[in-house]
């Protein structure tokens, strides 16, 4: 049985390889029944400069378990930390938060968007592990991470999600007038305003989660 499973995964790996090798940006959805979500979570007023944790989080509901990947700036015992966000830090952003100092936008995405986002998160995790961050100030690295994750969303003509253009241009009201540490929070707020209609509310998310878990129970 084990040998047959191994053989089957080897064949599926060989079949999948050309797709990843030639699919330039990873645009192909795998057509799996799983559901994927991107959460942009942020808070202000936690650190001395009035900034706070801000990170993107990718969620995969695959029936038996919920896989969560979060990388960015988080607060661990009041200290600013950049890297993989620990569970106790991202758990509170799994639900909508009513306070004005918090922001949480939950968007349903495709498997291709999820894979592209995950690739960005994995690269930043590697940068942290290898001490290969691009800026001496982690706030700048966090802006780059947030920018790369959100910009990876619409790469294959998926125009549904409206992006705020964080480009230090004339129309960008956030970047030039704000401390780098506060930019991701304000960016998430603006993204939430632009995509309010796409935001997946708590009750809907719980519905999806229980629906995804149902076949596994049978």
């Amino acid at each position: 049985m084990k040998r047959r499973m191994f053989f089957f995964s080897l064949i599926s790996l060989c079949l999948a390889a050309p797709v990843t090798a030639f699919g330039q940006k990873g645009c192909e959805s795998d057509g799996e029944p799983h559901r994927y979500f991107l959460v942009l979570a942020g808070r202000s007023g936690t650190f001395y400069d009035k900034s706070g944790p801000a990170f993107p989080m990718l969620i995969k509901l695959d029936g038996e378990r919920t896989q969560v990947d979060a990388v960015g700036l988080s607060s661990i015992q009041g200290k600013r930390m950049f890297g993989t966000v620990p569970e106790e830090s991202y758990r509170e952003f799994m639900k909508e938060l009513p306070a004005a100092s918090d922001v949480m936008l939950r968007l349903e995405i495709t498997s291709a968007q999820y894979e592209r986002g995950l690739k960005v998160l994995r690269t930043w995790e590697r940068r942290v592990k290898e001490d290969a961050l691009l800026y001496p100030d982690v706030s700048m690295d966090n802006i780059l991470l947030v920018k790369q994750v959100t910009e990876s969303l619409n790469q294959c003509g998926e125009k549904e999600i409206k992006l705020y253009k964080l480009d230090w241009g004339f129309e960008d009201k956030i970047s030039d007038n704000t401390l780098p540490s506060r930019i991701p929070f304000l960016f998430f707020k603006e993204m939430k305003r632009l995509n309010e209609s796409l935001h997946v509310r708590d009750d809907k998310f719980e519905e999806y989660r229980s629906a995804a878990a149902r076949p596994a129970k049978q």
């Binding site: 590697r126 290969a132 691009l134 780059l144 230090w168 970047s175």
Partner: protein, 224 residues
């Protein structure tokens, strides 16, 4: 153990064994900043960025890409002039590295074709480099960072700058390749190893001789 190491270091410093010609400055940031990423040259040779290319050397680094039709060909032709002007030093105590900003497109063969097109493929001390996009990005930010995300993400900003580093003296200089040759050579000299008093004296004597000749010939100093 510590004492033994200390003793071994002391002995090795005073030994008569010949030292490597390339010794880094004690304050050099070393591989921690430069990284020891594995890169490939236009000759398809694998090199470690810090250990093989930077350590203890004086280098001129620029970014380019093979299909660039804007600044890169102009910068490369300017670098050929720089190479000609400093040909006695090139490959001995001065090196030139052109790193691609588009490693996904530029493999060693593409870089070789670009180098051959500009007549730079076989010039001593000049390498065209490619590698993993992750490493190339890290090196680009570590050497050419402006600390402004808009500029740092704009690849064209990096193709129009030359970074001159002397790891033996820990001097870093930056100059635009659009500057006049005199300015570029002057900037390269800012990173040169310090000269001895005798060398400086000889240099100043030669300059004074030139001034005296001019004053004698024209009645005033012509060249500044």
């Amino acid at each position: 153990m510590y004492r033994r190491n200390l003793f071994a270091n002391f002995m090795s410093d005073n030994s008569a064994a010949p030292k490597s010609p390339f010794t880094p400055h004690p304050a050099s940031p070393g591989a921690k900043r430069f990284t020891n990423a594995l890169l490939r040259t236009h000759e398809n040779k694998e090199v470690k960025f810090y250990d093989d290319l930077i350590k203890g050397r004086q280098v001129i680094i620029n970014y380019m890409y093979a299909t660039c039709e804007g600044a890169c060909p102009l910068v490369t032709s300017k670098l050929i002039k720089v190479h000609k002007a400093l040909k006695d030093r090139m490959g001995k105590d001065l090196f030139m590295y052109s790193i691609t900003v588009k490693p996904e497109q530029d493999d060693p063969a593409a870089l070789k074709a670009f180098a051959e097109m500009h007549g730079a493929a076989n010039l001593p001390g000049w390498l065209f480099l490619t590698g993993d996009p992750y490493d190339i990005e890290t090196i680009r930010f570590r050497l050419f960072r402006w600390n402004h995300i808009k500029f740092d993400l704009d690849l064209s900003m990096h193709t129009s700058m030359l970074r001159i580093i002397n790891d033996a003296t820990n001097r870093w200089v930056m100059v635009t390749p659009e500057a006049e040759m005199y300015t570029i050579l002057k900037h390269i000299s800012f990173a040169d190893p310090p000269k001895s008093f005798e060398e400086k004296l000889e240099e100043h004597k030669a300059i004074q001789k030139k001034i005296d000749e001019e004053v004698k010939q024209y009645g005033y100093r012509k060249i500044i």
